[in-house]
Amino acid sequence: MDEARVKSVAQRSKSNSLWYALYLPQLRELNSALQKKYLDQLAGHMQSVSSTVSFHPQALICEVRSSLKYFAGIDVIHQKLQKLVGEQLQQWDLADGFFYAASPTVSGSLLLARSGHNALVYRPENLRSALGQLSTDVLDLNKEQRRRLLNMGIRHLRDIWRLPSDGLCKRFGSNFVNQLNKALGKVAEPTLNYIPPPAFAASYDLPYELENLNQLLPIADELLAQLCDFLRRRDLSTSSLVLFLRHEKRDSTEINIGLRMASRSQQHLTLLLETHFDKLSIPAPVVAVKIEVKEFDAFFAKSDSLLKNEPSGSASYSDSNLIQFIEQLQARFGDSHVKSVSNATQHCPEYASLQLNYKEKPNRRGRIAKPIEVSANPRPLWLLQEPKQLNINKGRLFYRKPIAIVSGPERIETHWWSGIDVCRDYYVAREHNGSRLWIYHEKNGKRNWYLHGFFA
């Protein structure tokens, strides 16, 4: 009973589909990356006649039986494709011809197209004779197999039809027989269908011109809602999108929104957009708004930690709400205003602390923090950008008020080859008004005293 059902399925699929193959031998000379790129684009064109498009070496195949009625015949479909594909090939400076064929099986169409016959076979029962006329050259064979076929006096597929299949299987392997059975529609042929990459663009034409960006926000919000809906349905998220504000007779204003962590939260996107709007001035009233997604990312749901209080800080500090906040800061002030602070192993005090533009360090999590080496001598929390020279008044050091030295000296000397020539004696001092200072006495040059930091 099972067999009967399988057969009926096979028959139905045989009678129901017609595969149109498009073979482009000119692609053979190109490298595989370029071939893939071209085929991808052509598949996009082919989608105008069929929803089922699959890739094959230098060839594309689509199912056209389901669209025959709509286009009123295979000829119309063929003409349509010929025009689209021909134009595209000319754009790429390639020969604009291609071979084509249609038959009830994918492999059948492919073989017919490769042979250059431009054949059309509607009925499955005619497949055997149509394929029979083809030379064995169209088959995917290795050198050894070709030699054997030649030795056996087999030139055409019809010669093979006459041979018993179990013998063929022994001599040429099951792949060979499978290939032929697929072409004849005896076994099922699964195909991997072309799925166009996701694209999202939504726009809204305003009924009247708007100058106030705050009034624009609800409209942008609505577009973002559409976007988030789109992303949710496709299980995607986005890390980069553009908002275009169209003006009359002027170039559109572009707002690029980049996200550190791909998101599909409308709330988050709206918040970022609001931040951008805060800083934006538009040259003219807005007549239309458009949103386009530049980059799609797979969506990863974040799961909360099972243990509420992680013992070490490293587990939770990259939580998304902090990242969202940092993104907002960067959106508003620019990257150069958001700094991380780090320690550098430098002997010269000015160079022992670094302020760099904040960047997320993804590998920080797993890294075992290496012990940071700092001097055992006291270091102030505040450092002056430039050391400030101190006065000496009646033999006493003076800044705003007289200064009394508390401890020191600590000699800091750099080597001449490090490029920074420093020789200083550092002291901890206290000013009469209560400030704790970090001061130094130059040991070379003018031998002046300087204020370098505050023990705040």
Binding site: K339, Q385, F454
Partner: protein, 194 residues
């Protein structure tokens, strides 16, 4: 008795805990630290708090500090610099307040530090509200006290300088702390490590 029973977070200085209601810093809200000039131990006062915040995995945000924040000192104090972020702004007070409000609303920012001298009551209330929403603590460093400030905690560090006073000692006055109507002071050794 609004503040009664509110358990604070220990300041790390027993003498200071003793004069604060809740025996420590409030868990959330706004604090003002007043010093006649910078460099009087106003940051030392918060070092134990910073350490505990970083250990909780939260971040410390410094908004427009008056000088360069010096990493070796943070390391010496045992504060992981990976969880420290500095926002450098050139002039605008508005931008600083915007950052401060957003930061206070962000739960992962445990402590937000800002240097602003004159802020209207309305702004302070708004910041206080943001700190309550985000469950964070905001500290404003200023040179002058304003009597009508709505901040729940106001502290003053004073110059207790005399020729024979120790380097480490500072006079800290709690001008106001919600839950206690008296103002009390204590002499505290702020520079324990130094």
């Amino acid at each position: 008795m609004a503040g009664q029973g509110v358990q604070g977070r220990s300041t790390g200085y027993p003498q200071l805990d003793a004069i604060l209601p809740g025996r420590g810093w409030p868990e959330r809200g706004l604090m003002e630290v007043i010093t006649p000039h910078w460099g009087m131990g106003e940051l030392q006062l918060l070092i134990p708090l910073m350490r505990s915040i970083v250990e909780q995995g939260k971040w410390i945000l410094w908004i427009s500090p008056p000088y360069l924040l010096y990493a070796p000192a943070l390391v010496q104090a045992g504060i992981n610099t990976d969880q420290v972020l500095v926002v450098k702004l050139d002039t605008s007070c508005k931008d600083a307040l915007w950052s401060m409000e957003k930061a206070l609303q962000t739960e992962n920012c445990g402590l937000v530090l800002a240097w602003q001298n004159w802020l209207p009551t309305k702004v302070l209330r708004r910041l206080q509200l943001a700190a309550n929403t985000g469950d964070t603590l905001g500290v404003l460093f200023k040179h002058h006290d304003s009597e009508h400030s709505p901040s729940p905690v106001r502290l003053k560090i004073e110059d207790s300088y005399s020729e024979n006073a120790g380097f480490n000692e500072s006079e800290v006055t709690v001008i106001k702390a919600r839950g206690d109507f008296r103002s009390r002071s204590a002499t505290i050794n702020l520079y324990q490590q130094a």
